[in-house]
Symmetry: C2
Subunit: 150 residues, 2 copies
């Protein structure tokens, strides 16, 4: 475990990895029952007749699982991982039961906050990959990162 | 309950509402324990010392709750609500315990799919509002919407 990073510790092109999570069918059903109760996320038989042709995880479930991986991953920021938003979120292919996910993060850009001189804003591309190294979610997010006290 | 909509039923400027959900403190803690275990989402005392100054919901929790509202809301699409991604996701202010959320959807754009002639792609701005009508999440998403069979 290395010390959490300040804005000054980050630079464009740095990459950070995470551990993995295997998406069990029950996880898909439990999440979707609470947050995205649509047939293709809930029921194998109903999912067969859908656009997906089978049971798939909600995209927001993939997002939430990716967040968990990031919180426990290598990119540790002082004060925590706090996102202002994303300029792009894509789900290029579905997540199926049994898929094993991990996230790769790449620093795309850095700038100082105009309103808060003690903070920087860091653009990070988070790519969630399945066990075949295929991207299942790509999010370009902007994070709030404290500057190192001088 | 009106019939679910096809691509041809949608037009720019249409708006659709949802019901509401009240975000109880236990919901915030349960979600964050599983998906975003950071102090400002987990523990009132620890949250006081964070950037937020108090317990707030994970942005991905707000996203998931918004999805639930949408699935049960007025914008019903044939085949379900299926997003390809978002070109913008923002959390302009945090969601606090006790906040009551709802979503307003506005159709921003429509185009036919080039790869799938039986589908259209519909850009929708989903704004999640709290009980003071303040936006807590804004997502501009692209949804896959079937064309009416001719």
């Amino acid at each position: 475990m290395t010390a959490p990073l300040y804005y000054e510790d980050l630079s464009i092109g740095q990459t950070f990895g995470t551990g993995t999570v295997t998406v069990e069918p029950e996880m898909i059903k439990t999440f979707s029952a609470e947050f995205d109760p649509q047939p293709f996320h809930m029921d194998v038989d109903a999912a067969r007749g859908s656009l997906f042709g089978g049971l798939v995880a909600s995209g927001w479930h993939t997002a939430a699982l990716s967040m968990r991986l990031l919180v426990e991953g290598k990119l540790q920021i002082v004060g925590g991982l706090i996102g202002m938003g994303a300029e792009e979120v894509r789900w290029p292919r579905p997540v199926h039961p049994g898929d094993r996910l991990r996230v790769e993060s790449e620093v795309l850009g850095l700038r100082l906050s105009k309103s808060h001189p003690d903070r920087g804003l860091v653009r990070v591309k988070n790519t969630t990959l399945n066990q075949n190294r295929e991207p299942v979610m790509i999010a370009i997010v902007t994070m709030i990162v404290p500057r190192r006290p001088s």
